[in-house]
Symmetry: C2
Subunit: 141 residues, 2 copies
């Protein structure tokens, strides 16, 4: 799937995982694809509410599509789940996130990599599933 799939491609993707392509789901994916960073349940629900979609529906869809493998849900340490589409262009690789502890904004860091300078680092480390950086973003400094 390309960076910004159109409505038909989105519907296809939804059906491909065994879910029905409802307006709420399409709108959710459109929104997430348009976003540059992961969005919270509240972000999505608030936006969809303008189209008369209930927050429970928004939430169920986020979870259902996550379970179905269309979205990734991440917990950045502030007790709020954020969702972002899994673009298979990125090979489904999860990328590091940067969370501003002041304003709560999140950025995706596709081009940051981890270097272990010695094996000792991996003593306890098994499988790394998420990389999270926290700090102050440029706007908040």
């Amino acid at each position: 799937m390309k960076k910004t799939p159109d409505t038909d491609e989105i519907k296809e993707a939804i059906r491909a995982v065994g879910l029905r392509a409802t307006p709420a789901r399409v709108a959710t994916l459109v929104m997430l694809y348009a976003a540059k960073s992961p969005l919270t349940h509240a972000n999505v629900a608030e936006h969809l509410a303008e189209s008369g979609i209930d927050k429970a529906t928004a939430f169920r869809n986020l979870n259902d599509m996550t379970d179905a493998g269309l979205l990734r849900r991440s917990e950045l340490g502030d007790h709020v789940w954020r969702f972002e589409p899994i673009r298979d262009e990125h090979h489904d690789a999860s990328h590091p996130h940067f969370l501003c502890v002041d304003c709560g904004s999140v950025s995706c860091l596709d081009d940051v990599t981890l270097t272990a300078s010695s094996k000792r680092a991996s003593e306890k480390v098994g499988e790394i599933t998420e990389i999270l950086l926290r700090g102050h973003c440029n706007e908040c400094r």
Copy 2:
């Protein structure tokens, strides 16, 4: 501070960060030091309730001591904070940590560094204050 500080050492530590050494705080630290893994607010509150300490107090103390640098608060992914004592200066935020989302253990990764392969990464990123990797440790895999 040693692995298992006694009551007086605990009181000292609390005062050292500018807080008053109240029974609730001492009991909280004693409990956390005795625990082998991070405890939830519920764990602590439940235990302290036996001594007539309110859960709001337990929670405030957990947060206050976290802010003061005596404890570390981590989020394993179930939207429940877990707390553990910071046993020595080595365990500060100056180096990356690895958090096992299964057992809650935190390990220090002194020898892992992050490399931004391009400046684009730092678009929004201002100052990074904490690097956290999450995953499954070798014992939990």
